[in-house]
């Protein structure tokens, strides 16, 4: 059987991303979006000033890239197989490739902006 190298690569991103999402995403959503609504936080971190102040921290930059990359590649891979599960046996690979491309572009942009842009 021909090794399916690309899937193997994306599977690794997916697996790593799964851990990242499991560890970081819930708290991230609470901090930046849902915390105030839920009454857990008083300060709204999603304003321009709050966010800008925050993302200047080098550790935060790393955090951002890891979270965004992990979530997108994890999500894209699994999303692709949801499409398979729903019966898109012929097209799920193509749609999946599209999802990976978006994930790659978004992660790259985030990294560029985080590291050199802000």
């Amino acid at each position: 059987m021909e090794p399916d190298t690309s899937t193997a690569v994306f599977w690794q991103f997916f697996a790593l991303g799964g851990f990242i999402v499991a560890l970081l995403l819930p708290v991230h959503i609470i901090l930046f979006h849902a915390g105030v609504d839920l009454g857990l936080l008083e300060e709204d971190l999603s304003t321009f000033d709050a966010m800008l102040a925050w993302v200047t921290d080098p550790l935060v930059k790393v955090y951002l890239i890891v979270l965004v990359g992990g979530a997108l590649f994890h999500g894209a891979h699994r999303f692709k197989y949801v499409l398979f599960d729903l019966g898109m046996r012929r097209s799920y690979r193509k749609v999946g490739a599209f999802l990976y491309v978006i994930a790659g572009l978004a992660t790259a942009l985030t990294a560029l902006v985080a590291l050199f842009g802000v």
Binding site: M1, P3, D4, T7, A8, V9, Q12, A15, R78
Partner: protein
Amino acid sequence: MADEIILRVTRYRPEQSPLPFHEDFAVPFRNDMMVLDALAYVKDHMDGSLAFRWSCRMGICGSCGASVEGTPRLTCSTFLHEIRKPIVRVGPLGHFPVIKDLVVDMDDFMRKLQQVMPWIIRESEKPLERGEYSQLPEQVELYRQQSLCINCMICYAGCPVYGLEPEFIGPAALALAYRYNVDTRDHGSKERLARLIGRTGLWECTYVGECSVVCPKNVDPAGAIQRLKAPGAIQAIQILLPPILRR
């Protein structure tokens, strides 16, 4: 419970009708009766044409898998009284072509078993006179669970991925590959893994986990497949490396 139970069997007799149909059989009920006993009763006393496979009637030969109330089970170890219904539906294992009544076509499964090279591969063989390969009990423990598969194919009937993509190697065969790959006597894990990392291999498994739930022998194919994925990914990716870095 009533002293009679209705067995609603999904039948398929290609020489009689091109379509499957249901047939009800009223079977005398005993509390210690397995679904298989009821099928045997029908065959012996009501309709000899009912076709199903069975042999050991003690849950080890793997012949008698069928869909009982929509769940793949060994009929020899499923009590009728477990079902708690006056009408019990029995049909062939899902995801396989049906030959007749409860008898399904196993060819694909047999091919897949062979495909994963389920035998010990060694670089050099020790002569028999020099005795056994030493193996500590905890080394046996590494593969013991996956060596308990009875090839009943119930995991394939439970696996939606196999249902959607019949080319998928599937739970039992992959678990068997794992069983040999972690055996300390074996040197063939790379060769075996090479057969699992293609399009229809490991990556198709999305860890639904149903195979391990329905497995009557607690083999946990789902866990085994996940454990193959990391070494599988590494091996698949080596092709991207310059030759000198490949192992």
